[in-house]
């Protein structure tokens, strides 16, 4: 089974972000998306820690330790960017001003449920960050994640076993194996990635998937 690299998944997700969109990038794999904006588009990225209009990672040696994204990675600013404090930053999110939120995931369920803050462990501390604000506030929510854990355990599941971040909130899933739309009828594969066939991807997915062909037939 072939898998995209995290950079390739981020680039595939970036390709679906339209010109002019305001997009929050959450902690983890999502922050990578800012490095892959297609050249013909202007996308304004938002990070929870109080910045709009940031660009790609800086060249080595040009890092500013006080200019970071949600993952605490160094970023650069684009002309037109702005800084603001945390209450204003989350007002943008909760208030419905963000078009797309790209979030990491522990698990995404067939109904769009998202779990990404707690494993329910007594000893491994939970960490919620801005995820719960984004799931209630952003107009559209993309989850970006490896398709499985390293041991092969599916992360795209029939029902989340971890505590939920939000119920029915994810509309698209970008993994190293596929792009998947969450629909009322279930998980619709939009695109198989890295040259895998449908059955290969279905086999490492806990929830039933609909093949790309099914989509075309349903639309036709």
């Amino acid at each position: 089974m072939n898998r995209l690299t995290p950079e390739q998944v981020a680039a595939r997700c970036a390709a679906d972000i339209p010109d002019g969109a305001y997009v929050n990038l959450g902690i983890g794999m999502p922050t990578e998306v800012a490095n892959h904006v297609p050249a013909d588009r202007e996308v304004i990225y938002h990070s929870e820690n109080g910045v709009l209009g940031f660009g790609a990672a800086p060249a080595p040696g040009e890092e500013d330790p006080q200019l970071i994204n949600a993952s605490k990675q160094h970023i650069t600013m684009r002309p037109g960017g702005s800084f603001f404090h945390h209450a204003d930053s989350f007002g943008m999110m909760r208030g419905g001003h963000i078009d797309i939120s790209v979030l990491g995931a522990y698990q995404v369920a067939a109904n769009g449920d998202l779990a990404n803050w707690s494993t329910g462990s007594e000893t491994y501390p939970p960490a919620v960050g801005g995820a719960m604000d984004l799931v209630v506030g952003a107009k559209q929510l993309f989850a970006i994640t490896r398709h499985t854990l390293k041991d092969g355990t599916p992360k795209i599941v029939e029902r989340c076993s971890y505590p939920l971040t939000g119920a029915g909130v994810v509309s698209r899933i970008y993994t190293d194996l596929a792009v998947i739309a969450v629909t009322d009828a279930g998980l619709q594969v939009i695109e198989l990635l890295a040259g895998n066939d449908f059955d290969t991807v279905q086999n490492v997915t806990d929830a039933p998937l609909m093949a790309p062909d099914t989509a075309r037939r349903a639309q036709g």
Binding site: I44, G53, F83, F84, M93, R94
Partner: protein, 224 residues
Amino acid sequence: MINRIRDSIAEAIACVADGDTLMCGGFGSSGVAFNLMDALLDHGARDLTIVANNAGVGETGIARLLAENRVAKVICSYPRSPGSVWFERRYEENAIELELVPQGTLAERIRAAGAGLGGFYTPTGYGTALAEGKRTEIIDGVGHVFETPLSADVALLKAERADRWGNLVYYKTARNFNPIMATAARTVIAEVSAVVALGDIDPEQVVTPGIFVDHVIETEQAVA
């Protein structure tokens, strides 16, 4: 390419519909989008609800809309000022509805709408006639009033400078309600004294990030 700058003021305010709720920035005559409000008269919208701190003085701005009978309701904190002749006349005629809101509660209700909150408890107004009929609660021994978010269809703002992303900076006390109203309306229109190149506004100094702004009109109006 993102471009919030509009050539025509009529195009910028075309979205206003009869019956809309409009937020109008300003405190007294400072920070008022007089050009947008004049254009609104030509546009013809009526039966408007105006959210603003004051209700206009003389024959300009909100006063002019009141004179032309375009306003059904005013939600404000201080409708009566020297020269607020049209508001006083319409009020006396019982031709206009007034929702009087303490100024800080007005500001906070607008902010709450912009920030996606469902409402808040404030000590302001507790025990007074302005809290009558409102839900109240004693919190840590202090009486509080429950207040709901206040949003609008359109906000008409006055700012000093803008870039094509819609980033705004203001000028002195002309800032007042403009930045919070920018967050709380479905469509936000700003008239500015000058449009500058993208990047000319220092990211540390942006007051209203462009994420909140839909249309920008550059006016000739001098501010100082």
